[in-house]
């Protein structure tokens, strides 16, 4: 049942030998050791597992890995440049201390990166709207909105 599949993750080609129906999330975390994306619901309801598919933020917990092989995938680990310099969204989350437990942070950073890519100057309402798919239980939402706003001006 296992198949050799080539994935393009964070600018690199990876060969994995997996059941092609395995959701991408498990392959990223367990086969490639990329644990930035988290398991939250397995239902595409909470955003914890978001990655960039060809630049668009979407959950990875239901997407079969064979389907993902056709796209360029970027995970949280792939946002910093080759010298380790953080993406401005990552930096803004640090500057605003926009985290408590941080479990949802992966999805929030990924969704915000995609948002700013599409709309470099979003209003607060647009930020809130675009993060609608992400669940946060510690209540850091207000800080997250501030962080994205800040990143949009840097």
């Amino acid at each position: 049942m296992k198949t050799q599949i080539t994935l393009n993750v964070n600018g690199q080609q990876h060969e994995v030998n997996v059941d092609p129906q395995t959701p991408l999330l498990y392959v990223l975390r367990n086969n490639l050791g990329l644990t930035g994306p988290k398991f939250g619901c397995g239902l595409s309801q909470c955003g914890a597992c978001m990655v960039l598919f060809d630049g668009k933020a979407n959950p990875s917990c239901l997407m079969p890995v064979e389907q993902a092989s056709k796209m360029e995938i970027t995970t949280l680990e792939g946002l910093a440049d080759e010298n380790g310099n953080l993406h401005k969204v990552q930096q803004a989350f640090i500057d605003e201390q926009a985290a408590q437990c941080g479990y949802c942070l992966n999805g929030l950073v990924i969704a915000s990166v995609a948002l700013l890519d599409e709309n470099p100057n979003p209003t607060e309402e647009q930020i809130q709207e675009s993060l609608y798919r992400n669940i946060c239980r510690c209540g850091v939402h207000a800080r997250v909105v501030r962080a994205v706003k800040k990143a949009s001006t840097t």
């Binding site: 296992k2 985290a99 941080g102 950073v109 209540g139």
Partner: protein, 727 residues
């Protein structure tokens, strides 16, 4: 013992290089912990129970508390760095771990700063004084001429590292009473909004959560859940399961069923297959046909007068104005973003567990009783998980992973719950009913007060009894279901903080239909919600401003200051059509942080209430990290507003039905109010627990704002039940 300690310290010195303290990489290639069964923590009266000097010059702080997202790591690092006059990057923190850190019980009740951080402060101050004394003797110089800074001690032309001075030993003396606490006198690091060290790792995806642990040859497990709390496994056809990809083992212990597979997704698919094959005998029915609020009042109860002052009845009867009201709070879910997870490893009669439990020692004791393994053969290491501020499935999943690991020795077993397991099986914050009566004098003062509240116990944390673990009830060994739990949680904040001469409060403790345990603030959430709603109603009856009315019933200046500030911070607010502002106040536990709050709401055409903005003023005495305190308070306000507006666990006759984020909606980004928190820092005071202070007042402020907007009182939570959205 000496040899063991030294070996241990050497290992700690080794493991704390880089950011790997939390990681399994430090535990050796086989993932085993050296000397797990012979290590005991130091006496907590001794300095080295809290603080170790490492070979590379850094200091390792040992806290018995867990990082839950509240920022305890940075807070304890700050207090230690201040006393040792050292840079923060030279201070590392080891979170709760059996045999390593002091046994500080649970990370709960907003006690981590009051207890752990203060123990660490005193230990570090005592360490500084001992170090200066040692150097003074060694160099024959008065200690007033010596300087301790950044792990180096110097005086005149002499200079050496702490590690050299101590010759590799640790400071074993008693903490005693240090002569000076720099945190009170110098305050260079404490009281500053120092950024957390874990957030940079989080944004890079490098912070290791318990969900992220990986060990060589680790296997994955999933549990097959019964139909209800009490149903038993009927039949299960096992034949052919071994042919499924990755199948390693089916574990059946009575009605507790789990599968173990090589890969995670294989374990998930196997669990679906086993679920399809299993039949379950029906258990007891849940009371799904009666409104829960009414049902709870029909349950057998333990009634106790908690407070009886003056003659409330007589005062009430004579009062010219009388008022009464009843309130209801449903079951609430912890609903962590990441489902509970644990890793367990059993080999050579020893068990190791990696867990996001809030109490590693109580978990160890309870595991020992469940598994009949001696406590000293169990090592439990705390590793942060997904936050929720309460006792969710963390301990249950640890017990389940341990049960499976014992059945499958020699390889690390990782078990993470699926979303529906977390939603359907965690122990919820209990439903409560609250009834209030009060009389007002003609001057508008409260003259008689009666409060009755109905509640389940609030905590079923592991306490040594195996039945506190979810899987225990399904084992054949007959552990039964947990006992009444922590009644004190129900009573919390049931006494109003106001000056009322004649009052009586009575608790009515029942055993409710759903599993329940500690959720942030415990009973204080519902008690304060009810009392502060009622205060608002009384102010209205008395024709008084709700903030002034509260101030007239307070004699604690710190409480009054919070209320005056919240009023001042909201004077400029302009209210539009169908908008209102509401206020509330409480002192958490009547002994911890003071918190006043205002909420600005509007009610849309579909009668759905939205919160536009919330303001908070918090006085937690001496503030260790003002940004950490703000973050906690903002989060508490948002979480409490979500509880009040949106949340309610629902069930049918079989089991809970709120199985996912659609059926148990919590606030999403578009619903989030703007938040503004002012911190009152009182350096001269003791620091007070703060993490739960916002919960009750925030909910009350929201419903009081609804009254201000519409003239209608909301007394049953949630304000916007799911059905409203379906109309």
């Amino acid at each position: 013992m000496k040899t063991t300690r030294r070996t241990f310290i050497k290992q700690m010195g080794y493991v704390s290089i880089g950011f790997s303290l939390l990681g399994p990489v430090c535990l050796g290639k086989e993932g085993t912990y050296p000397n797990a069964n012979i290590m005991e923590p130091e006496d907590p009266d001794h300095i080295n129970a809290w603080l170790r000097v490492l070979e590379d010059g850094r200091v390792l702080i040992l806290t018995g508390k867990m990082e839950l997202g509240q920022g305890i790591r940075i807070a304890v690092a700050q207090v230690a760095a201040e006393e040792l006059n050292t840079r923060l990057d030279l201070v590392d923190v080891n979170l709760a771990e059996t045999g390593v850190t002091a046994n500080e019980g649970y990370t709960a009740g907003s006690r981590s700063i009051e207890s752990s951080a203060m123990s660490i402060r005193h230990a570090a101050a005592a360490a500084r004084e001992k170090i200066l004394k040692m150097a003074s003797q060694k160099w024959d110089r008065p200690s007033s001429e010596l300087i301790l800074e950044d792990g180096m001690i110097s005086g005149g032309d002499q200079k050496m590292s702490l590690y050299e001075l101590l010759e590799g030993k640790q400071i074993e003396e008693d903490i005693g009473e240090p002569a000076e606490i720099f945190g009170k006198t110098k305050r260079k690091i404490v009281g500053q909004p120092v950024p957390r060290k874990d957030i940079p790792a989080m944004v890079r995806g490098e912070l290791e959560y318990v969900q992220d642990l990986k060990f060589p040859d680790m296997v994955h497990a999933r549990i097959i859940r019964p139909k209800s709390y009490t149903s038993k496994l009927g039949s299960l056809e096992e034949s052919g399961l071994q042919d499924f990809p990755g199948f390693l083992k089916l574990v059946r212990l009575g009605s507790f069923v789990g599968v173990i597979a090589e890969e995670e997704y294989q374990a998930i698919k196997l669990s679906w297959e086993v679920q399809d094959r299993a039949t379950w005998e029906a258990g007891e029915e849940l009371p799904a046909d009666v409104p829960l609020k009414d049902y709870l009042r029909t349950l057998p109860e333990e009634t106790e007068t908690e407070e009886d002052k003056g003659d409330w009845k007589n005062a009430f009867e004579k009062a010219p104005v009388k008022h009464s009201a009843a309130y209801y709070k449903p079951y609430l879910m912890h609903a962590a973003n990441g489902p509970s997870c644990a890793v367990a490893y059993y080999n050579d009669d020893k068990l190791q567990v990696w867990t996001h439990s809030q109490g590693v020692y109580p978990l160890r004791e309870t595991l020992a009783n469940l598994l009949e393994i001696p406590e000293d053969a169990i090592h439990v290491k705390g590793v942060p998980g997904s936050g929720c501020y309460g006792h969710n499935g963390a301990d249950d999943v640890a017990a389940e992973a341990a049960l499976l690991a014992v059945e499958f020795p020699g390889r690390h077993v990782r078990l993470q719950w699926m979303r529906d397991e977390e939603h359907l099986w965690e122990p919820y914050g209990t439903a409560m009913v609250m009834e209030l009566q009060a009389g007002l004098s003609k001057e508008g003062k409260i003259v008689g007060w009666k409060y009755d509240f109905w509640s389940d116990g609030h905590s079923s944390r592991p306490n040594g009894e195996p039945r506190t673990f979810l899987p225990a009830r399904f084992l054949d060994r007959g552990h039964g279901v947990p006992g009444p739990g922590f009644k004190g949680g129900a009573v919390r904040n049931s006494m109003p903080y106001y000056t009322i001469d004649n009052l009586q409060t009575t608790s009515h403790i029942f055993r409710g239909p759903l599993r329940r345990s500690a959720l942030r603030a415990l009973g204080a959430f519902a008690n304060v919600f009810a009392i502060e709603s009622f205060m608002d109603e009384l102010a209205d009856k008395a024709g008084k401003d709700p903030v002034d009315f509260r101030i007239e019933h307070l004699d604690d200046e710190r409480a009054i200051t919070c209320l005056r500030k919240i009023k001042r911070n909201t004077t400029e607010v302009n209210l539009g059509e169908r908008e209102g502002i509401g206020y509330a106040f409480a002192r958490y536990k009547n002994s911890a942080s003071y918190f006043a709050v205002a909420a600005h709401v509007y009610v849309n055409d579909e009668e759905i209430v939205r919160v536009k903005k919330m303001w908070g003023v918090i006085d937690s005495g001496e503030t260790i990290n003002p940004d950490g305190l703000k973050n906690q308070t903002e989060g508490g306000m948002i979480q409490a507003a979500s509880w009040a507006l949106r949340e309610e666990v629902q069930f049918d006759k079989d089991h809970v039905t709120s199985r996912d984020w659609h059926l148990y909606p919590i606030f999403r980004f578009q619903e989030i109010p703007e938040v503004d928190v002012e911190v009152i820092d009182r350096v001269e005071e003791d620091p007070l627990g703060a993490g739960e202070a916002a919960q009750g007042p925030s909910a009350a402020a929201v419903v009081n704002a609804v009254f201000s907007a519409t003239g209608k009182r909301v007394r049953d939570l949630p304000v916007n039940p799911v059905e409203k959205y379906l109309r």
